[in-house]
Symmetry: C2
């Protein structure tokens, strides 16, 4: 039987490089499974059920909430969005580390509903570097950038509630840090029970 | 100021390769500081105070016990042996990871007296491999080896009380595992407070 994978909650302000870290890690290491959200909004052109979202009815979603079937959820402009527990658990039981890239409020809900989740916060090396990265994108007005920076600051104040903080200064170092956390997770005594039993079974 | 180092408690049965892992790790990574024990026994020829042991009087040792100055201790053939808290804390405050290579009973005492210690248990890949390693040393009788194996089995049953279990099958993998644990330790949110404060200090 495969060893149970971890649930990795991955947060950090917009522009801190979360996606880049995950992409670089996947290119050199084992595959990660990205959690798929459920929503009650209608699929848009080209969106595939089970890939982009699980598309469900309001009744189905509310039934999941009642039966503790959502790791976290929120409603936004009249629709629900959330993370179904079942798909996450299935993938973990297959041995995959499941990644949940999610903003702070949802992340803290997951910490409650799934206490063995590993919470990682990604920090930019400084707010000025973050500002620079957001500006370089060239897609946002100065006002939007200022608002994003203020929001980043608020989010970062919640970083001490996470298990780990990675500083994304040099990408290579950040990817290595991410890998070390996942590797040490697998070495936790509760995840090594099988091998311990196996070694003890030998009749010395 | 240097970031506080970790206290790494490192246990495992005789012959499982603890020393080899630490030596290999030190050769490629940052220096580790090995905790020096205190004892009330007299120094032997060539033993240096503060290097091989801290040599103290019975009164000094008992005073340390009373004032919670010993992370763990035991008495053996009329003498005390133990780990003084102060030297460990000083080195950690200088930023060193301090290694305490110690048997299971002492290790579990440290877990109580220093709850932020990181507890690592080293497991041989199988008891038959352990037997082979002990036999290859060629220094012990079959009876001694049988006794050591039985003791190893008892010690291994305590492994679930540790934070991490490393299997020393391939040395290179074990050294990498050890490194990942130390690295992820440094990334724990409580050890990243300084950098978080620094980033938040910038007036966005």
């Amino acid at each position: 039987m495969a060893k149970k994978g971890a649930l990795i909650v991955f947060s950090g302000p917009s522009g801190c490089g979360k996606g880049t870290i995950l992409k670089a890690y996947q290119q050199k290491e084992n595959p990660l499974y990205f959690s798929v959200s459920a929503t009650t909004r209608s699929p848009r052109e080209g969106e595939v059920d089970g890939v982009h979202y699980y598309f469900v009815t309001k009744e189905e979603f509310e039934e999941k909430i009642q039966s503790d079937g959502m790791l976290e959820y929120a409603s936004y402009v009249g629709n629900y969005y959330g993370t179904p527990r079942q798909a996450v658990e299935e993938k973990r039981n297959e041995g995959y580390d499941v990644i949940l890239e999610i903003e702070v409020q949802g992340a803290l809900q997951v910490k409650k509903s799934c206490p063995d989740a590993t919470m990682i916060f990604v920090l930019p090396p400084s707010l000025s570097v973050l500002e620079e990265r957001l500006t370089k994108r060239g897609t946002e007005s100065p006002e939007t950038i200022a608002r994003r920076l203020a929001m980043a600051k608020e989010e970062m104040k919640k970083a001490p509630l996470y298990d780990y903080i990675i500083v994304n200064g040099e990408l290579e170092k950040a990817v290595e840090d991410f890998g070390a956390i996942l590797q040490s997770n697998r070495l936790k005594a509760e995840n090594q029970k099988d091998i311990l039993e196996e070694v003890l079974r030998y009749d010395a």
